[in-house]
Every structure is written in C-alpha cells, then in structure tokens.
C-alpha cells in the first residue's frame, strides 16, 4: 500500500521508532574487530566494528566509558553490548555501547600493554613516587576475598612471624565485572576510615588472566597510586604481572610473599637486639677493663717499681762506663809499658857498664862530666876513672898527645 510522499525527517523519525522499539535491537551483543578507534575531545569514543564482510559504527558515550574494563585498541577482537540508535540528522544508525567484553590472551595482552604504556607515561609507576613499606607496622589491612586462599596464606604467614601486628581483613570481591570497582573503593575506604593502618596488602591467589583482570583495570591502579598508605600488590603467582603490581609501592610475587614483606619476624628481631645488647655489654666491659689497666699502671707501687727499674738501669749503665774507662786506662798503661820496655832494651844495649866488664873505664872531670878528649886537659887536673866495681880519683902527671 502506497502512502503519500513524506519528508526525510519524517522517514528517519519513523525508522528510528521502528529500530528502537525492536526488542532484539534494544539489547544486542555483537562480535567484531575494532577499527578507526577515535577518542573525541568530549570524552566520547567512536569506532567501527567489522568482520570480513561488513562494518558497524559504534558510539561509546563518556558516561559508559568509565565502566569499560579494558583499554581499547585497533585490531582487537571484542564483544560489544548495546542498543541500536538512529542519529536522525545524519540519517545513520550506530550501536550505542553499554559494555565491552574482551576475551582471549592475545586481545587481553594488547589491552594490558596499552594501559601499562598509558599509565607509565602518566608517571603512575615512577620509582620516585614509591613509598617505603614500614619496617615495623602496628596495623596492616588486607584487601582481598574473605573466602579465597590468599587471605588464609597471608594470615598464616603473619601469625608465624609476628604476634604483635594487628590485621584488618577488608573483604572485597576480586573477580568479575564489579571487582575492580570494589577493590578500588576498598583502597579508598581504608585510607579514609583507617588512617592508622601502616600498610595495605591488596591481591588475590592465582587464576586465569580473565580471573585476575580486575587488577589490570585502570581504576584499581589509580586508587593504589592515590593511596596515602603504602600498598603491596600481591596478585596470583610469581609469573603473573598485573598493572596493580606496577602502580603499587612494592610488588610481592605471591600473597604469602606479601605477608613476609609486610611484617618483620619477631623471633629474629629478638635475637638481633639480644646480640646488640651483648655487644653493648662486651664493649663497655672491655672499655672498663682497659681503663682499669690504665689506672693500675699509674699507682704508687708501680711508679716505685718503675723508678727503681730506672735507677737500676742507670747504675748498670754507670758501671759499664766505669769498666770501659778502666779497660781504656789499662790499655793505655800497657801500651806505655811496652814503649818503656823498648827503651829499656835499647838502654841495656848501650849500657856503658857492659864494656867495663871488658876492662874499659869511663873518665869524668871534677864536675862529673864525661871526658872523651885530652884537648882541654892539663897537668895537675883531677879526674875520676869509673870502673866496673868502683872509682879511682887520679891526678894528671903527664899528657901524651896521639897524632
């Protein structure tokens, strides 16, 4: 049945009513690959969902974007849930997005990497922003599932190491679409309601990448970063790395490891301070002993002994000097003796009495001077002839000159 011509806007208005009253198109999920992804300045997101044969324009309004759990990227395979909407002025329809689900390790890895790059660029992972985990906390909070394995592990480790620290278990769902929001809120609430908490452990036990995904969501990372209380992130096993780990002040490989980092071992600390106090006692004893020895070495008795020793040493020194002197004198004497003896020998050799034995006599004048020539003699002079065993006084009778 033909109707009379109508205006474009009337037609589009009609199509809009038809499309938007269709129960299927009001809540539809579509699988496809993202292309032409555009973040508009208004905060809305536009992209095209495509398969090998066809394309679908998608519109993700700003108010829904914050509920999207994944960082989007061209080429990513996603499932979009929403409703068909007709833009009357442009005469085009699009899928108005309520929610997006991403599956498969490959797609999730892309989302992970994209968010990681984005937050890193923003400085959420900067080392200089990291807070120090208190060494000796009085109270710590554990944000995790009340029923999970992680909470059991954490309590077990804490109890085995430390019987002083108070522990506040802050229950929270850790997987599923609402987990990220709850974890994020829990971190904010602990900061607000329990400012006396020293350390927060946030995490969960192992699971698939989908199960751990809440810890890869932006709001969790932002709450961790904003936390005034230092945060230890403990998600899954050693091999699982999450965005939370990067945003946290410290990453623990497992929840057990987080508990170990969060609280000191009291027994080990006791041993340590005991060794320190032993050192202290030892040092002061040594010091006092040293002072005692020093004092003792300065009493009257010791001084007396020291003085006597010194005197004795000097006496010995003087005695030695005297002995040396004596020896020197003796040596001198003996050397003179030998000189004298030499002269004696010479003298003996020339002893005039020796020749008297052979009949010679020595003649002296009246003054006792030896006369060796007749030159000054004259008749009537008195002479003395010395012989071996006596002397003869003589008077010169006659002088005979020998030519």
């Amino acid at each position: 049945m033909a109707i009379k011509p109508i205006k474009v806007s009337q037609l589009n208005g009609y199509i809009k009513r038809v499309l938007q009253s269709d129960p299927l198109l009001g809540n539809v999920s579509v699988i496809g690959e993202i292309s032409n992804l555009k973040y508009h300045g208004t905060g809305h997101v536009y992209f095209t969902l495509k398969d090998e044969n066809s394309k679908l324009n998608c519109f993700l309004p700003y108010e829904n974007l914050k509920d999207i759990r994944y960082e989007l990227s061209d080429g990513m395979q996603i499932t979009v849930n929403g409703y068909i909407y007709l833009y009357e002025r442009g005469g085009s329809y699009s899928l108005n997005v309520r929610d997006i689900i991403i599956e498969g390790t490959g797609n999730l890895s892309i989302a992970f990497q994209k968010l990681k790059d984005k937050l890193k660029k923003e400085g959420l992972f900067d080392e200089k922003q990291k807070k120090k985990i208190p060494f000796f906390p009085k109270k710590i909070a554990v944000i995790t599932s009340e029923t999970g394995a992680a909470v059991q592990d954490i309590i077990k480790i804490i109890k085995s190491r430390n019987n002083i620290v108070d522990v506040l278990i802050y229950p929270c769902i850790v997987q599923g679409p609402n987990a990220a929001k709850e974890i994020s809120n829990s971190i904010d609430e602990v900061n607000r309601l329990f400012p006396d908490i020293d350390t927060i452990i946030v995490g969960r036990g192992g699971g698939s990448i989908e199960e751990l995904w809440a810890f890869n969501e932006e709001i969790v990372a932002r709450s961790i970063f904003a936390s005034i209380i230092p945060v230890i992130s403990a998600v899954g096993h050693e091999t699982d790395f999450t965005i939370s780990d990067f945003a946290a002040d410290v990453r623990a490989e497992t929840p057990s490891a987080a508990a170990q980092m969060a609280v000191p071992d009291i027994e080990a600390l006791k041993q340590y301070i005991n060794s320190e106090v032993m050192q202290l006692n030892h040092s002061i004893e040594n010091y006092i002993k040293y002072l005692e020895i020093k004092v003792q070495s300065n009493n009257i008795e010791t001084l007396k002994i020291n003085l006597e020793n010194r005197i004795n040493i000097n006496i010995i020194k003087a005695e030695n000097l005297y002995k040396n002197l004596e020896n020197l004198v003796k040596q001198k004497f003996s050397s003179y003796e030998s000189v004298i003896n030499n002269y004696k020998t010479t003298l003996d050799a020339f002893n005039p009495y020796n020749i008297m034995d052979r009949g010679y006599a020595a003649v002296t004048d009246e003054k006792g001077i030896l006369v060796s020539s007749i030159a000054k003699l004259k008749k009537g002079d008195f002479l003395t002839a010395k012989l071996k065993d006596g002397e003869i006084d003589c008077k010169i009778e006659y002088i005979r000159r020998i030519n």
Partner: protein, 71 residues
C-alpha cells in the same frame, strides 16, 4: 629527674627508631677515643633502647579482625 624525662622520650619512639638508636649505641661503644662519662652514657642509653625494643617485642597482643562493611 633527668632520667625520668629521658624515659618518656624513649617511649615516644617507634620501634624502628629505638632499634636504630640501639644499633648506634652499640656501634659507638666499639670506637676508641671515648671519655668514661660518654661511654657510660652511651651504654645506659643503649640498654634503655634495648629494654624498650624488648618490651615491644614481647607484648603479644595481636588482633586479627574482619571488617564488616554493613556495620
């Protein structure tokens, strides 16, 4: 009097601070060139820090509670 004030000073410290001071006292006593007065003071302070640390470590009064969000 003076000792009393010092005691109250010690109990204001965190465990970490007291431990650090204990370590410093022990370390300082190992060094030479101390007067007896300084050494004794150091020793007494060290013992005080030790007693304080020990007191904290032996007062087991752990509380583990689950927060009830609906309370």
């Amino acid at each position: 009097m003076a000792i009393k004030t010092k005691e109250s000073d010690v109990s204001n410290l965190t465990f970490e601070e007291a431990l650090e001071k204990l370590e410093k006292s022990a370390e300082a006593l190992k060094k030479d060139g101390y007067s007896l007065e300084d050494a004794m003071k150091n020793f007494e302070e060290g013992i005080e820090y030790y007693n304080y640390c020990n007191k904290i470590l032996t007062m087991a009064k752990q509380k583990i509670e689950v927060y009830n969000k609906n309370q």
